[in-house]
Symmetry: C2
Subunit: 231 residues, 2 copies
DNA sequence: CGGAGGATTGAAGGCTATCAAAGTCCGTGG
DNA sequence: CCACGGACTTTGATAGCCTTCAATCCTCCG
């Protein structure tokens, strides 16, 4: 049975700051759901739209053109909020990159609850503002950076984002980590092709900047060099 | 003297929905300010950060690399909110594209006022969510679209955005409009060079898709063709 | 009229995409 | 245990889009 009391992201997600009574109310509206790697998070449910909190795993927000080009426009980690409350619906679809668990709510229910709980709306606002900041700095990357700069920036961001997932406060960025992305997905994040991504990874390895112990593993050998390359 | 009562964006900005007493309180915290075209909106004031509402004019949000490359990451029109309340400060700078008037607040004051007025925070949340949607669809453009697609998409967005500025509810997108951007700024929005922008404009003109009565004026002759090109 | 900034046009080159093939990893089944 | 198959990745060759560099042309104002 899903329960907020045992939720691992209870103190990091937008639910934090709610008192017990409120948590109980929210709990009764939502339910847990598992999504396996590669599966889309179906966004319609009983004719109602959904929003969700990520409990565990990593998901991508992706938009695509009619002719099949894809761009990953966001990545959601544990405790992140996904979906579009209030009015409009965004046409980005959500797909799990790893096996994931989420806590889903019917949008109508969530909207109403949020309007009645300013503290929750405030948390959501802070999150949305941060996400907007992050997205805007990604626009710089997409519009103005070269392939080597994109790859370096990407690896540095990954090493920071993936260090946060541990429960204990992390001590700076991770030196070694496991990418939740395939090469194609890295390409879809950076606006490149899979071949260019592969070549840049190989080049960084040959230059002694990183090690690639396996397809998904990355070890940053020379962080200073990456920072210099990131532009 | 600045006064919310006569403010032309009073009913569209986040101030809408506040009662008279609240408006008076907000009014006493903020002040009007003019910025001429090309001038940055100075973001520090008496050692305190600022946030603002756009009353009139168009401003750009821009980030740049050390070596001088620029990317416009957002454009603010009348009634839009700019700045970063609550905690972090974003490193995008704000520059007026046209002569502009804004209503500025010390961030501390604004934060406090917002926390006490959930209705205002809600308005800000809705705005921020919409801006995030818009920004994400722009990521698709920057990462995956070709120069002709970028230009077509840009012209269509402009014709919609600029139609909204009139007081009366607009009847669909504008057929003819005046760009608030120079060619270089169009390039900075789309992640292209000024030469490529110029060539694409010329090509659209030669193909009979648009007319260019003057440097800043654009007339859309064949909207269907633009839609097809936009990808 | 003359100057200056912005815009357009032209030629050449480089970066990344595209097309193609070989290599690697991993799970499955013999 | 090893062979096999398939997906993913790497590597190579080529092409093309957009940038870069450079010169000319507007257009607006003093």
């Amino acid at each position: 049975m899903s329960s907020c009391e045992t939720c691992v992201v209870r103190n990091r997600a937008i639910c934090s700051g709610l008192d017990n009574k409120e948590i109980t109310a929210l709990n009764s509206m939502g339910r847990r759901r598992s999504v396996s790697a590669g599966e889309p998070l179906i966004w319609e449910d009983d004719d109602s739209l959904l929003v969700a909190n990520v409990i565990d795993g990593v998901l991508k927000l992706v938009t695509s053109t009619e002719d099949g080009r894809e761009q990953i426009v966001g990545v959601a980690y544990p405790s992140d909020f996904i979906g579009r409350p209030f009015g409009q619906t965004s046409r980005a679809s959500v797909v799990a990159l790893t096996d994931a668990r989420v806590c889903v709510f019917a949008r109508n229910d969530f909207d109403r609850f949020a309007r009645e709980h300013p503290e929750l709306e405030h948390k959501l606002l802070e999150r949305t503002l941060s996400e907007l900041d992050r997205t805007r700095s990604w626009m710089m990357l997409l519009g103005r950076k070269t392939a080597p700069e994109k790859i370096a920036t990407f690896l540095l961001e990954m090493s920071e984002r993936l260090a946060e997932t541990g429960c204990q406060p992390s001590f700076g960025p991770a030196r070694r980590f496991s990418l939740p992305f395939s090469r194609q997905q890295v390409a879809d994040v950076l606006g490149l092709t899979i071949e260019t991504v592969s070549r840049q990874f190989t080049k960084l390895k040959n230059d002694g900047v990183i090690e690639l112990p396996s397809r998904r593993e990355v070890e940053i050998v020379n962080r200073g060099a990456l920072l210099a390359l990131a532009g």
